[in-house]
């Protein structure tokens, strides 16, 4: 299922995370199912902790990997509503939630993704989203007011 280049790339991406100060995140292999995912705990400036989870799709790196925020669960907005209730939202920079109800963070839209983007950049966008989310919780203002529409360049 996975090509040699795909496997090599994921090993390399894991190494980049470890060496570039992103070692709270790792790329994992599930040997039983021969599947990959990247995951880790992001700590916001406030000290609050958020679990990020990126299942690696079979077409990676050509195919865009989704990034889910799996803890806290369920994730709520400042008004108490579920983030996932918004679906694909520009105001909160979210995409379709997972079938298990995890909120999906919009890092790159599928129409903007390309295989030159590495997981380190994806996690960086996740960290930015979390800081903006905390600002949203503090002010009640839409998350989009705290982050620019994410640029395409990797």
């Amino acid at each position: 299922m996975w090509t040699t280049d795909q496997r090599k790339r994921l090993v390399l991406e894991h190494e980049i995370l470890q060496r570039e100060g992103f070692d709270q995140f790792s790329v994992y292999i599930n040997k039983a199912t021969d599947t990959y995912y990247a995951a880790g705990t992001a700590t916001a400036n406030s000290g609050r902790r958020y679990q990020l989870h990126i299942p690696i799709p079979s077409g990676y790196p050509g195919e865009r990997p989704p990034m889910y925020l799996i803890d806290p669960y369920p994730l709520r907005m400042a008004n108490g509503n579920l983030v996932t209730s918004l679906g694909v939202s520009h105001l909160m920079h979210t995409l379709e939630p997972s079938s298990s109800g995890w909120a999906q963070i919009c890092h790159w839209r599928t129409a903007r993704w390309h295989s030159g983007i590495v997981l380190q950049k994806v996690f960086l966008k996740g960290l930015i989203w979390i800081e903006a989310y905390e600002q949203h919780l503090a002010t009640g203002r839409p998350l989009a007011e705290f982050v620019l529409t994410m640029a395409e360049r990797a």
Binding site: L12, I29, N30, S58, V88, A111, R112, H114, E152
Partner: protein, 489 residues
């Protein structure tokens, strides 16, 4: 009037000119004084006469039969003395075209019979009867048929309709030789017959390119598109309103057959996605050239990856928003930049796409920020489709000497830019008017632009080594990935 009467000879000459629709030395006029048709020398002023033109003389319906079909059925005709022929009746019976000639029959079918003996009557209910009479073949015309045994026959037809029995003209069409003759000035007729073109995405541009290549004589097509033709498509797509609801692959297949009846066309009404990349990859590997007319980046990048892996040249075309312009990218694997190099080097240009369908809009919209469907005009998409076709054609002709070979010099850039209008809000808004500039960039001109291939491209280059170098990592001594601490993926 004797057979040698000069007037009789002039009439014969004039009628021949009219039948061949060529000017002659004599012409026919209706002499109002004599109340009869007479022949006069061309240039003669006949004040009391009415000129007779070829259109006046074109009185009979025309039945067109396939020479190839008749050659194939000749033994049957010789054995039985007659053979049934299915005709499409167009324009109230003005044109009767054998159905075997094309794929799109007229709404009014008509039955005919071809007979070898004038005394053979048509079966009941058969309106058209075509008699083949032996002839010496010294003056062959459109009604002359050369049988497989080398003998010549001349066809004459009659049609019975509403109690009237009218003569009809008969002509034979030898489709492939006649089509090849029309291309022969520029393309050798057989050069493209064995070439396989994979057309992925059959919107306005992709469909147009496929049909144009069929006209050029490309003989094998594989068509991939999951969509059906909608009413909204019709203002741009080659398919018409009578085709609405059909799969685009089938609409385009039939249009290809209308232009090149012998073309082999395989259809795949599927999406281009990572789920079916293996099957799409097989189609790519079997192709000489891939034409990518899809309108979204994921499919383009997937096709790019598959073409690079298979070493197959791909040509990508796309219109900018509302088709204010467009671009064409030709990718020669590992020789020129690929689509991945392009999106990384030119992200703004790569992202400037036409939103021509609701699915295009959904791909970039948010539930709280909709995106309008804003297709451009057909006339603004066709220049892009034409260059897409030409670049594909040049790739198919690579290594062949044709009149088009000279174009390899002109179309050597990988990326081509076209502007239909200086769209406000774009970097092109201040381009000078066409009339004011001869050396500055303007609308309605193609610009070939060189962009270097990225040797570190993740698709066509050595991304892994370069990124490892960039981070000071040794690819040969990387640790294994940690095993998942959880059971689920």
């Amino acid at each position: 009037m004797s057979i040698n009467d000069p007037q009789r000879q002039m009439i014969q000459e004039a009628m021949k000119s009219i039948a061949e629709r060529k000017p002659g030395r004599t012409k026919l006029v209706y002499d109002k004084t004599k109340r009869t048709i007479v022949a006069v020398s061309e240039g003669t002023q006949a004040p009391r006469a009415l000129n007779i033109t070829a259109d006046d003389a074109d009185m009979f319906a025309v039945a067109t039969l396939s020479s190839r079909w008749l050659r194939e059925h000749w033994p049957e005709l010789k054995r039985d003395g007659s053979i049934a022929v299915a005709l499409s009746s167009w324009d109230g019976g003005d044109a009767l075209t054998q159905r075997d000639l094309g794929v799109q029959p007229a709404p009014s079918p008509e039955q005919g019979t071809v007979v070898l003996d004038e005394r053979t009557a048509a079966p009941a209910g058969v309106a058209v009867r075509i008699v083949l009479a032996p002839t010496d073949g010294t003056r062959p015309d459109a009604a002359t048929f050369l049988a497989p045994d080398g003998s010549f026959y001349r066809a004459a037809g009659r049609r019975t309709a509403g109690g009237d029995d009218q003569p009809i003209d008969v002509c034979f069409a030898d489709v492939q030789p006649e089509l090849a003759t029309r291309r022969a000035g520029v393309l050798e007729s057989t050069v493209l017959a064995d070439k396989m073109v994979l057309c992925i995405g059959l919107g306005t541009g992709g469909a147009h390119a496929a049909i144009e290549l069929a006209k050029c004589g490309v003989g094998r097509f594989t068509l991939v598109d999951r969509d059906r033709l909608s009413v909204g498509n019709v203002v741009r797509h080659p398919g018409g309103i009578s085709q609405v609801g059909r799969l685009k692959v089938n609409v385009v297949r039939d249009l290809i057959h209308e232009k090149n009846p012998d073309a082999e066309v395989a259809t795949h009404p599927v999406d281009v996605s990572y789920e079916n990349q293996e099957s799409i990859g097989q189609l790519v590997a079997q192709s000489d050239v891939v034409i990518c007319g899809t309108d979204n980046r994921p499919s383009k990048l997937l096709i790019n990856q598959l073409c690079i892996e298979a070493g197959v040249v791909a040509v990508y075309g796309g219109a900018f928003r509302r088709a204010y312009g467009g671009q064409v990218l030709r990718v020669r694997p590992k020789q020129s930049l690929c689509h991945q190099c392009f999106v990384a080097a030119m992200p703004d240009e790569a992202s400037d796409v036409e939103i021509s369908t609701s699915s295009d809009a959904e791909a970039v919209a948010y539930s709280d920020q909709p995106v309008a469907v804003e297709p451009g005009l057909s006339m603004d998409v066709l220049p892009i489709a034409n260059l897409l076709t030409k670049l594909a054609l040049l790739e198919l002709l690579a290594g062949k000497q044709t009149s088009l070979s000279i174009l390899k010099r002109d179309f050597d850039a990988p990326w081509y830019l076209w502007l239909n209008r200086p769209e406000p809000g774009t970097q092109y808004a201040s381009w000078p008017p066409l009339s004011a500039s001869t050396d500055e960039m303007t609308i309605h001109r193609w610009y070939g632009i060189y962009i270097e291939r990225d040797p570190q491209c993740p698709v066509c280059g050595d991304f892994l080594s370069s990124i490892a170098d960039g981070y000071g990592l040794d690819l040969t001594s990387l640790n294994e990935l940690p095993a998942s601490p959880r059971q689920e993926s």
